[in-house]
Symmetry: C2
Subunit: 331 residues, 2 copies
């Protein structure tokens, strides 16, 4: 079985985005917020069958952990009620995808974060999604400001109530930013990778997993710059008097959303097979084909199959690690 | 001959830092700024012979392009006069190193940037250093705010007067941030790498080299996350309707400050040999030895020698590219 741990509903029917536009318009002019979007099963089925499910099947994968579109989470809109309603609408929609295609999609939720708000709303929505709707994980945005990084690092007690809930519910968080409003950072070509890199170093410097020994975090996009600079992190940790970075591998996992063979090779060379989760983020950042090979950039299974991993390690990357990190998958 | 394109005067005699402290104290209390630091030749010779020169010799390298300590540039101090005096003091000191050890050190300058100031002071200091003092390059900070990224991208016309001067003087810029004041970004483990990643994507999105076809930029630390995600950038450029990223390789170069074998292997696998410049950044971010090998983390020559590059490519990486990118080295 092949589990893709990182997919977003980038093809959601247009009423979802219409709802969002109406919501932002209402925020601007002070009118009543819109009702939740009305989307029929047919529209959902069509949007999935023609896209993610078709490609899952074509590529021989079985199950995708499916969350709302990350770039659309837009946590920089600094209004808690708007954030709550937007997260709820987005999560309810991926819940319906998982309900319509229970063998192919398991849901992970967007959290209602804001730059200046607290973390309680995120905890409540996480609890609702996991306990009531059967979600298996969530996306945690380490920079709700959208590229200005005005909040505290992930090791700050600010986030602790969320970690307590994650541990209690036994679900992991994928640490994933949303759109960048900073013109210095392109979302897909800078902000996402910078976030992955930055939070790993926050974890090197902090003692988060002493306080939460069973907390599990997935760093997407192959860990940003981290595996490529693994020696740098080794050396920095030593120089700064921190524990070996390999200690973090009890709690930190990397996905395989890296879109060329040398990158995937390096990832598997540097990071133990126990800590790598298969992901394509397909129909995400990089759609289209490599003109040199004719293969889709995000068809990461091709790269992984060529790494020469032995069958046992391949099984870890494709299935076992996902089941261990997302244990609610197996319920 | 082996040229290390990336070294900072991290071992400068203490009067330099005393001057800086006095300068900041004077800024705070409004008193007269301190006089330039008085440092004897002996102190400079000792600080270099015991450190960078000793290690250059031990490792079989010949010449280092030597700039002030990057983390100490501290452009976030938003006072143009302070920035000018600090850059001048720092540059005059590396000039003296190059004067005392002319066969082993060539100087690259710190620019007097500030978060809210213009670029004219940087142009003036660049001209002084190159035309009067024989400097061969400079460090360009793409984020003078120190981790808040409040300024414009490097492709913005804000920076154009500096590019005009770089082209006219025929010197390159190494794009290198300074200390981070943002608690989300550790200097060495996040901010530096994020900057390298971010500015590459800025270059993908902009048309800077149409306007400055002979401008040369060196992205340090192995290009941040870029080579590891080379497929992502290829695909993003296509999806965004931008020219192939290989077009950027007429103007963009990566150094080898990557501190483990797999990283260096990937760099050389992905980036053409014409675009890689040897660097150790030794006595920089990662001092100390890899306990598994006993080798210094920043002894990057060892990794490069093991990549299996043919002698012609090795010569490019160790010498020829540096001479082409920094043509004033050969004057």
């Amino acid at each position: 079985m092949i589990i893709d741990c990182h997919g977003h509903y980038t093809t959601a029917p247009s009423p979802l985005q219409d709802f969002r536009a109406a919501q932002l318009a209402a925020l601007q002019d002070g009118s009543a917020p819109p009702a939740a979007p009305a989307i029929g099963d047919d529209a959902i089925v069509e949007s999935i069958e023609a896209n993610q499910l078709r490609i899952l099947r074509e590529r021989g994968a079985d199950l995708m952990i499916f969350s709302p579109r990350a770039s659309a989470m837009a946590h920089h809109v600094d209004d808690p009620a708007v954030a709550r309603a937007w997260a709820r609408a987005s999560n309810d929609l991926v819940h319906r995808v998982a309900g319509l295609f229970p063998t192919h999609f398991a849901a992970a939720c967007q959290l209602p974060q804001t730059p200046s708000g607290g973390i309680d709303d995120a905890v409540d929505e996480l609890r609702r999604c996991v306990s009531e709707l059967g979600f298996v994980g969530c996306l945690l945005n380490p920079d709700p400001s959208g590229g200005f990084w005005t909040g505290p690092p992930l090791t700050d007690p600010h986030w602790y109530p969320l970690y307590e809930a994650l541990v209690a519910l036994d679900v992991p968080a994928m640490v994933h930013v949303s759109a960048s409003r900073n013109p210095n950072f392109h979302d897909l070509g800078a902000h996402y990778l910078n976030a992955d890199t930055s939070i790993f170093m926050q974890l090197v410097l902090g003692d988060l997993f002493q306080d939460f020994p069973t907390l599990r975090l997935v760093i997407p996009h192959g860990g940003g710059a981290v595996p490529y600079h693994w020696g740098r992190y080794h050396g920095l940790a030593t120089r700064l008097g921190r524990p070996p970075i390999t200690d973090l591998l009890r709690n930190v996992f990397f996905d395989t959303a890296v879109y060329h063979q040398p990158g995937i090779d390096l990832l598997h060379q540097v990071i133990p097979a126990d800590n790598i989760l298969f992901a394509s983020e397909m129909l995400g950042a990089v759609r289209g084909n490599n003109p040199e090979t004719g293969e889709s950039w995000d068809h990461t299974k091709l790269y992984i199959d060529r790494t020469g991993l032995d069958p046992e390690d391949l099984r870890k990357v494709y299935e076992d690690n996902a089941r261990r990190v997302f244990p609610r998958l197996s319920r």
